[in-house]
Symmetry: C2
Subunit: 232 residues, 2 copies
DNA sequence: AGTACGTATTCTGTATACAAAATTCAAATC
DNA sequence: GATTTGAATTTTGTATACAGAATACGTACT
């Protein structure tokens, strides 16, 4: 399946009024995105060697943009490039997963506090609406939409913190954890517990109680470790 | 000054006993290192365009490894690649610098706590020795060695936290702040204040008081913002 | 004179070519 | 049978070539 160079990166005719510079994407960006997806979906297994020739053929690009994409992913810690010896999909050790969640807990604690202090009422309402949407996915046990809404809630809290670096670091760690979260958290009880914690967050959010939100978020991530520890 | 490809990446005959895999560095890694240094030293000014042709000529490498190096630096947020329009040295806005320090404060708070819990007595002694060395540099007002010892203290605390991700994120943020720290913190009073804060840290460290160390570190980084805010 | 257009030049992005390193595999040796 | 040695093959790293986009510049026009 070759990358189609025509359909991407066109201006969106819908928002003709908002004159944001149109997003151009070069081949290596697209390639990086595709490899990222393959890693999350498990098509490229953690620990496995990346076959440059095969992927290059499949994506229909030359080695140059492909290798640039690999460097980007290496900087994101998703792949490891061993000089002269090929690249492998990084497989985080359990210690590393714990470490990521510990850092995330600390960052989201800060994000929760800042978000309650600085977000507008409208933003908070939007966040709570997102929460309700997630709950309705849970009611139907709709796993994938739930998962996506969940990710979005956490990113939104980070965004509403108003700290761009916090958002950026959180995004990076989330992306490294995506695959693990994707396969983990399978049991109904654990899922229910995670949902309860989210209800707690929503309560704190409604009261703009930043300390409480932060504390709940930190606990939530500690529990997340317990929920995923046996899949790493 | 072209990069010498012969002398680098050879096995070091001194540590023949320690059979750690020898560090091989490919051209783009070396190039990335050199550009990083140029940015910190200010030879490549923040906000300025990166002249690919000129640098490629100066370093004596071809465009391929150079561009791969640029992608690495872009992932590190040190340069910005604008598709089809060249690369520039990223110039962090004051808001971003504040954001980085805020995140660092939170991370080092955690690092301080963990370090006091988990570091061995020997490691702690080493850290305190480093502190004393820094103080003797301060006594002589030896700016560069002081600066380096300072960086090393903060990295060591992160390392002794035992959380590799914490160390990794901290290292990334430190490297983005290096240039700013390098030019900032010039006044004798501010320097003295920073030194005082470090004495506080050392006291907390001797008592293995993690909470206190974390708090002092957080305050230290808040003050750092005040010390550098007028140079960004 | 100032603006708009079109052309020349430079720079960027991708593909390909080539050299060097690593890996594979088979024969030779112990 | 296991281990070593050494081609043959594959893979990786770097250089270069080429096409297309962006920028600079000069000319015509108002």
């Amino acid at each position: 399946m070759a990358i189609d160079r025509e359909t991407e990166s066109e201006t969106d005719p819908r928002d003709a009024s908002a004159i944001a510079p149109i997003a151009r994407s070069s081949l290596h960006e697209q390639v990086a995105g595709r490899i990222r997806d393959m890693i999350i979906e498990g098509r490229l297994a953690a620990g496995s060697r990346i076959n440059e020739a095969a992927l290059v053929r499949e994506l229909g690009v030359s080695r140059t943009p492909f290798r640039e994409a690999l460097r980007t992913l290496a900087a994101e810690n998703l792949v490891e490039i061993r000089p002269s010896m090929g690249s492998v999909v990084r497989k985080p050790t359990p210690e590393e997963v714990f470490a990521m969640l510990q850092v995330l807990a600390e960052l989201e604690k800060l994000a929760g506090r800042l978000c309650c202090e600085r977000a507008s009422d409208a933003d908070l309402a939007g966040l709570l609406a997102l929460h309700e949407r997630m709950m309705s996915h849970y009611a139907r046990r709709d796993r994938l939409p739930y998962y996506k809404a969940n990710q979005e809630i956490h990113s939104t809290i980070a965004r509403l913190s108003g700290n761009p670096v916090l958002l950026e670091v959180q995004t990076g760690l989330q992306s490294r954890l995506k695959r693990i979260r994707y396969v983990g958290n399978r049991s109904p009880e654990r899922w229910a517990a995670a949902v309860d914690e989210h209800e707690e967050m929503a309560r704190a959010l409604r009261r703009r109680d930043g300390e409480r939100l932060g504390a709940v978020l930190a606990v939530h991530l500690t529990r997340t470790w317990e929920r995923v520890r046996d899949v790493v």
